[in-house]
């Protein structure tokens, strides 16, 4: 166990990180038309046909959530989004959005924020296993 997993959530740090991609996040949250084209282009979604793999869903329910809470998330909430961003996405970068939302960048930042607070994906990707 590293030090970070025992420390309390550093909200300030999260807020700092959120400013890095503020404009992109605003685009994500306001422009997403739920057209589903990103799902078409995601091979994980095409294999599972589960909404939890839709790229926009993954981004909105991870980084989007953190942003909406203005960074004031607790550890449990970060743990909940682990599955979406570490297991359901490999950041292959092939998701296509006709409105120009940079989904990989969103998920990447969500990962960075989670990692900074000691919430990691595990290898092999099995949520909850050591």
């Amino acid at each position: 166990m590293t030090e970070t997993t025992l420390r309390p959530i550093d909200v300030k740090k999260i807020q700092e990180m959120l400013t890095l991609k503020k404009s992109k996040m605003k685009v994500l949250l306001s422009f997403c038309a739920h057209c589903g084209l990103c799902a078409e282009s995601c091979f994980l979604y095409r294999n599972h046909l589960d909404p939890k793999y839709v790229p926009a869903y993954k981004a909105i329910n991870s980084l989007g959530k953190i942003y909406k809470k203005k960074g004031k998330v607790d550890r449990e909430q970060l743990e909940e989004m682990k599955e979406l961003i570490f297991k359901n996405c490999v950041l292959c970068g092939r998701c296509y959005c006709p409105l120009g939302i940079d989904i990989p960048s969103m998920i990447s930042l969500a990962r960075t924020i989670c990692r900074s607070q000691g919430v990691f994906g595990v290898f092999p990707y099995a949520v909850g296993e050591p």
Binding site: T2, L20, L91, P104, S108, R111, T112, R115, F120, F123
Partner: protein
């Protein structure tokens, strides 16, 4: 995937000892998966380095930041606003990532904190085995899925050699003889005739650094593929 192994602490320490402000850049790709250079490893290394410099009169400031993959521009770009605060970068990515990082920041001193060892498989957590040497001309169809370049110490294409004994390589009892295994597998599958004729001398095509652009993207870069232009 690419497997790397962290360098000995003394070696890393020696690389960075003359610098004051160092950023240790981790990679959440291959080196994270093989537990060599992900965020956890960045933190662990930074802690160890801090301890090792404690005795010194001036110990450097060592901070860490992990990007998704150091082999991709969009992820490396995240470092752009940060690097000017430091006078050296330590990278825990594989050799490709370290070089790409160094290329993006040519004025920065970039140092590798891991040794990239091989392309291999993850047998189980912490257990990695080499499987591929990127020769560029895969012959696994003929050898039943066992690579003669990587798995045979003598790179035989018409093995086994006379030193194979009890199914293991003459070099080390723990290394299985690739050709015994190729023979067994092909025999079990009824494909033994594939290795009954002499496999001719092969052309080694990975002897210079490689670059290629997929045909469908060549127009995008106005790229003339050497082979394409000869057609």
């Amino acid at each position: 995937m690419i497997i790397a192994k962290i360098k000995p602490l003394e070696e890393v320490q020696a690389m960075i000892k003359d610098f004051k402000r160092i950023l240790n850049v981790g990679c959440a790709g291959c080196t994270a998966i093989c537990l060599a250079g992900g965020q956890k490893e960045v933190e662990t290394l930074n802690t160890k380095l801090a301890v090792s410099f404690k005795e010194e009169i001036t110990s450097p400031l060592i901070e860490g930041f992990t990007v998704e993959r150091q082999c991709e521009v969009q992820f490396l770009a995240e470092l752009d606003p940060m690097v000017e605060d430091y006078d050296a970068l330590l990278s825990m990515a594989c050799g490709a990532g370290v070089q790409f990082l160094a290329e993006r920041f040519p004025d920065m001193k970039v140092f590798p904190a891991v040794n990239t060892t091989f392309v291999g498989i993850n047998r189980d957590i912490g257990w990695y085995e080499e499987r591929c040497q990127c020769c560029g001309e895969c012959v696994l169809a003929i050898t039943g899925g066992i690579c003669p370049v990587t798995m045979c110490a003598k790179v035989l294409f018409n093995g086994p050699c006379g030193g194979s004994q009890d199914g293991h390589c003459e070099v080390d009892k723990n290394i299985p003889c690739a050709w015994v295994n190729i023979y067994k597998r092909l025999k079990a599958q009824g494909r033994l005739e594939q290795i009954l004729s002499v496999f001719p001398a092969r052309d080694w095509k990975n002897q210079t650094q490689g670059t290629f652009v997929l045909e469908e993207y060549q127009d995008r870069y106005s790229y003339k593929d050497k082979e394409g232009s000869q057609k």
